[in-house]
């Protein structure tokens, strides 16, 4: 297939637009994380700052806008997300594995229906799984009177683990099914024939064979659990996870602290992806080397064994990184030179805004409120933030002052 240059060119443009659509919003969001302004934006660029990753800021109106480090609700949310993720992994991986292995054993007439039941949960809308779990366990808790059952039946973390396990098990199931399709059943028979009991066959043959699938199922289960919102928002009840915290924050109005959070997650994702890729390549290389060694041992003549000296070359990746570093340094020096970074810049900006704000408030002749708000600012906290900006449109109006 050799398309004409014109089509190729159009295709290139299309691909560029497509990836711009995928990455553009993420990149812009990442940049806004470094703008010290309260409203995530680029064009009125205030100061370059890391405040949204750290303590956040006390706004000119006295409002405490939490940064990543100072936001205890976010921290609590992350902790419960981690707990839920761990719970989901410990439940859904064994369930998915059991279901996939049994799939290979059910009679062929039943296989379709068994498979359909197994994949049903991912076809259910997430909200429904959350709701059904909650209504069922509320009933169970109600029947159980006071005590342990009532406690766990009304425990958001427990319910979320169950609800997420319901559909995440299916993803694990599919991973195991794919791996089992390539399993050579005579391995099991060989082990049996050599005297292994059925249990030993399971632990010494099947589980080692499935171990890569176990690892990827665990990772997938954790990630799906960690980022789930639709199911969790119902089943979590009065608790909070990372996603519900993010959602409630977004609903209240958008803060650059969320940009900072997103950028952190993006960075972690990329690091994880790169690590995974490096590990995979290393394993592949090791395998290739062992094969090569084998070939060399076998080879009668020594020609293959000669080493070829490679010329010195800068890998492309390093060149790209160098380029980025050069640009970043240049950008940073420009930022510092123009006094767009550091405390002095932020102070200046705040001062300007505060005076503007006061001016406006004075014109509104609501001096009482101003005093109260300004003094109350030091107490700060998200609670206040939530109360004041309960109405999202209100916050947007404030954003308008920037």
């Amino acid at each position: 297939m050799r398309p004409s240059y014109f089509i190729n060119f159009m295709m290139g443009i299309y691909i560029f637009i497509f990836f711009a659509y995928l990455f553009g919003p993420l990149i812009i969001m990442s940049i806004t994380a470094f703008n010290s302004a309260e409203f995530p934006s680029i064009t009125p660029w205030e100061c370059f700052s890391f405040r949204w990753f750290n303590e956040g800021k006390i706004a000119y109106d006295g409002q405490h806008l939490a940064g990543l480090l100072s936001d205890w609700r976010l921290h609590d949310g992350i902790i419960s997300s981690l707990i839920i993720g761990a719970g989901v992994v410990t439940l859904s991986v064994p369930i998915g594995m059991a279901a996939a292995i049994v799939l290979t054993q059910v009679r062929s007439q039943l296989r379709d229906i068994y498979y359909s039941i197994s994949i049903m949960p991912v076809l259910f809308p997430g909200v429904i799984i959350g709701i059904s779990t909650v209504v069922l366990w509320d009933r169970i808790a109600g029947l159980g009177g006071e005590g342990f059952i009532a406690d766990i039946g009304r425990n958001g973390i427990f319910l979320t683990i169950l609800a997420q396990t319901c559909f995440i098990s299916t993803y694990c199931f599919l991973i195991f099914v794919a791996r089992l399709q390539r399993f050579d059943q005579t391995q099991e028979e060989a082990a049996l024939d050599l005297g292994a009991s059925q249990t030993q066959v399971f632990f010494k043959i099947l589980v080692p064979y499935l171990s890569p699938a176990i690892a990827s199922a665990a990772v997938i289960a954790f990630l799906f659990s960690f980022e789930n919102y639709n199911t969790t928002v119902f089943s979590i009840l009065s608790d909070q996870t990372l996603t519900t915290v993010i959602a409630s924050k977004v609903r209240l109005g958008i803060s650059p602290a969320l940009s900072a959070l997103a950028l952190t997650i993006i960075a972690l994702t990329i690091i994880a992806a790169v690590t995974y890729e490096v590990l995979r390549r290393r394993a592949e290389k090791r395998y290739a080397e062992s094969q090569e060694k084998f070939v060399k041992e076998k080879a009668a003549d020594n020609r293959i064994n000669k080493k070829y000296k490679a010329g010195f070359k800068i890998p492309k990746g390093i060149a790209a990184i160098l380029l980025i570093v050069v640009f970043a340094t240049y950008g940073a020096t420009q930022v510092v030179k123009n006094d767009l970074y550091g405390q002095s810049c932020i102070d200046a900006a705040d001062k300007e805004k505060k005076s503007k704000f006061l001016e406006q408030l004075q014109t509104l002749e609501s001096n009482e409120l101003t005093d109260e708000e300004l003094s109350g600012g030091s107490l700060g906290g998200n609670q206040d933030y939530g109360d004041i900006f309960g109405d999202p449109s209100l916050f947007q109006d404030f954003g308008g002052f920037d």
Partner: protein, 365 residues
């Protein structure tokens, strides 16, 4: 440490299909015994019945005179070598070999010792730490044998283990297998569709067709005195001559075919009567081009169609008057340059080298 294996009236059914039907066979201790038959004849099913993966629907499997029904494969004194070998790819060669000891809770040192012994037996000393995928085809084969021998089974079952190898290696492994069998002196039950393999290695063979045993016997016995037309044509090559019995003379019978009358030897257990539809078989190497002074019991007029050179032999393909085809082989040492396509010649064969059997279907049908 070898054991007898006895199959007594063993049938295996899948639904209404008989994979094996009323099989009776006794394999003696220390014997190299082969089941020979085309694919789908039920030989693998029998092997699975002996190893315990398949309970017979009827009948019994006895090993060392003990009834094996209800005893799982992991409890039987048998070891199976699979067609694809089924080596464990995630384990090293030593771990593979010592697996049966590992599952029995044998200590690590003991396992290592035994693995080294076996590696020596199969001439792979010092290669125990390799991974399975680093071995060549023949080495894998030997590791599979060593693995099966590790717990000193009384019976070793082999399911066409050589079928994946190339020709040269296959021939070498035949000799090697035979040697290993002599050294460890246990019962080998071998399954193959390759009659060459079966004949070269085995003490006795059993020929199977469609789930039933056709014949059991020593190799030369089966080759020279086939009991059924199937065996006659499956073990080695044979030319069938169809006709009716017209006379009986002692253990010989006269058969009238479209191309003439021939005299052939009857099998003791397959007596014929005059008028019976029957087939006389004569092997390609038993057909001779008569020289001066030769006097054969039977003569046959043929018209050469083509020939091929095989090295030690030259094979001729000829047709009879009736259109029936016949093949004969002449050792390369004899000069046959005068015989070319189209020439008409007379062939002769001895009645003692020809068997006559009641009509039934052939292996090549």
């Amino acid at each position: 440490m070898s054991a007898d294996v006895e199959l007594s009236d063993v049938s295996v059914t899948f639904g209404s299909f008989y994979a094996a039907k009323n099989v009776n066979v006794k394999v003696n201790g220390g014997e190299f015994f082969s089941f020979l038959g085309p694919s789908g004849c039920g030989k693998t099913t029998l092997l699975r019945a002996i190893s315990g993966f398949q309970e017979p629907s009827e009948g019994k499997v006895l090993i060392d005179n003990k009834d094996m029904s209800g005893i799982g494969p992991n409890k039987r004194p048998t070891a199976l070598i699979f067609q694809n070998l089924a080596l464990f790819p995630l384990m090293s060669v030593s771990e593979n070999i010592a697996f049966s000891l590992e599952v029995r809770g044998v200590s690590k040192e003991e396992r290592k010792k035994r693995a080294d012994e076996l590696l020596e037996l199969i001439a792979l000393e010092g290669q125990g730490d390799k991974k399975v995928h680093q071995l060549s085809g023949g080495q894998k084969q030997r590791v599979a044998i060593a693995r099966a021998l590790a717990v000193e089974p009384k019976v070793l079952l082999l399911d066409e283990p050589l079928s994946a190898l190339d020709l040269k290696l296959r021939q070498r492994m035949r000799t090697e297998l035979r040697e290993i069998q002599k050294r460890v002196n246990i019962t080998f039950i071998y399954i193959t569709h390759d009659q060459g393999e079966a004949l070269t290695m085995s003490d006795r063979i059993a020929v199977m067709n469609e789930g039933e045993l056709e014949q059991i016997g020593k190799c030369d016995e089966v080759y020279n005195n086939p009991l059924t037309p199937f065996v006659a044509t499956f073990v080695g090559e044979n030319n069938p001559l169809y006709g009716k019995v017209t006379g009986i003379e002692g253990d010989k019978a006269k058969i009238e075919t479209a191309d003439g009358q021939y005299l052939a030897t009857m099998n003791e257990s397959k007596k014929l009567n005059i008028g019976d539809e029957s087939i006389a078989f004569v092997r390609p190497e038993s057909l001779f081009i008569p020289r001066d002074g030769d006097n054969f019991d039977n003569k046959i007029d043929v018209n050469i169609e083509s020939f091929e050179f095989e090295g030690n032999l030259k094979n001729f393909y000829a047709s009879l008057k009736s259109g029936a085809k016949i093949k004969f082989s002449v050792p390369n040492a004899i000069d046959t340059s005068s015989i070319t396509s189209g020439s008409s010649i007379v062939l002769g064969f001895e009645s003692s080298k020809s068997v006559i059997l009641p009509k039934a279907s052939l292996a090549i049908d």
